[in-house]
Amino acid sequence: MAVVNEWAFIGVFFAIAWVFPFVPIFGARLLAPHKPNAIKQSTYECGVETVGDTWVQFKVQYYIYGLIFLVFDVEIVFLFPWALAYSQLDFFGFFAGLVFVFFLFDALVYAWRKDALEWV
């Protein structure tokens, strides 16, 4: 029962947490003036009028960072059960973790050597 209660707390928290920022934003809508016009609502970019499409072409480097992050994230998440059970594992457990982390490190070294970590 206690476990269910903990998660019920989180559930209610998720429901309530949206209310806290919503109330002042809604209040501001009631209190603040609202007189939109075309100049006021135009996009603000460097003072001059905005040119062209907002969907500018992005560098592929953003994707590469996202990709490396994804791989690291998934691998680290699987290290958590390992770390959690670590005190109950024998030396083989350490070895298994070592091999796992070695592959992770391998990926990093590859990306490094291929200059995939450079910003430009």
């Binding site: 969907w55 592929v60 953003y62 490396i68 791989v71 699987f78 059960p81 770390a83 592959f103 995939a116």
Partner: protein, 175 residues
């Protein structure tokens, strides 16, 4: 058989998230909106994992799917500028696909799920154990030489290979 308590209310809510989000993914024209629907659907699944006493899986779901895969999809959408150009989001066989998917669902529900695990199904009377394994047991099983240590290492190798392959494919060689 289906009483209204906190768990069932939560289940209905998560089912709505899951199915509604999935429907949004396949019907929305704007791919950024579709990604947000995907996040909603995945969040519903994370809720299911909590209800099924697998909180670790719920955390992994949020961390990997919402925190990483959804962001990666947005990057790809931005890089390929794919939401502004499509006039027609479905191909010519969309009606056939809808019929096939609908038939598959009915087949699964009427043919497999209800007769076996439904109210009067063959497996309906099974006792559900109240003892469950925890994340610690998962950790032990993952590095146990009699259980999953090989898949565990292969998973790491697979991710490394996927990363190397993706870097090679995605990078522009002209630079």
């Amino acid at each position: 058989m289906f009483e209204l308590n906190a768990q069932s209310i939560a289940f209905i809510l998560f089912a709505l998230f899951s199915l509604g989000g999935a429907l949004g993914v396949v019907t929305t024209r704007n791919l950024i909106h579709a990604t947000l629907y995907l996040i909603l659907s995945l969040f519903g699944a994370a809720g299911f994992f909590v209800l099924l006493s697998a909180p670790f899986m719920a955390a992994v779901q949020v961390l990997v799917y919402i925190g990483a895969i959804a962001i990666l999809i947005v990057f790809a959408v931005m890089l390929t500028r794919s939401m502004t150009r499509l006039s027609d989001i479905y191909n010519s066989q969309w009606l056939l696909s809808a019929i096939v998917a609908g038939l598959l669902f009915v087949l699964l529900l009427v043919g497999v799920i209800l007769p076996v695990w439904g109210v009067n199904g063959t497996q309906a009377g099974r006792e559900v154990s109240s003892i469950v394994t925890t994340t610690v047991d998962l950790g032990k099983a993952l590095v146990d030489q009699n259980q999953y240590v090989l898949p565990f290492e292969v998973a790491s190798l697979l991710l490394t290979a996927a990363m190397i392959g993706a870097i090679v494919v995605a990078r522009d060689d002209k630079e």
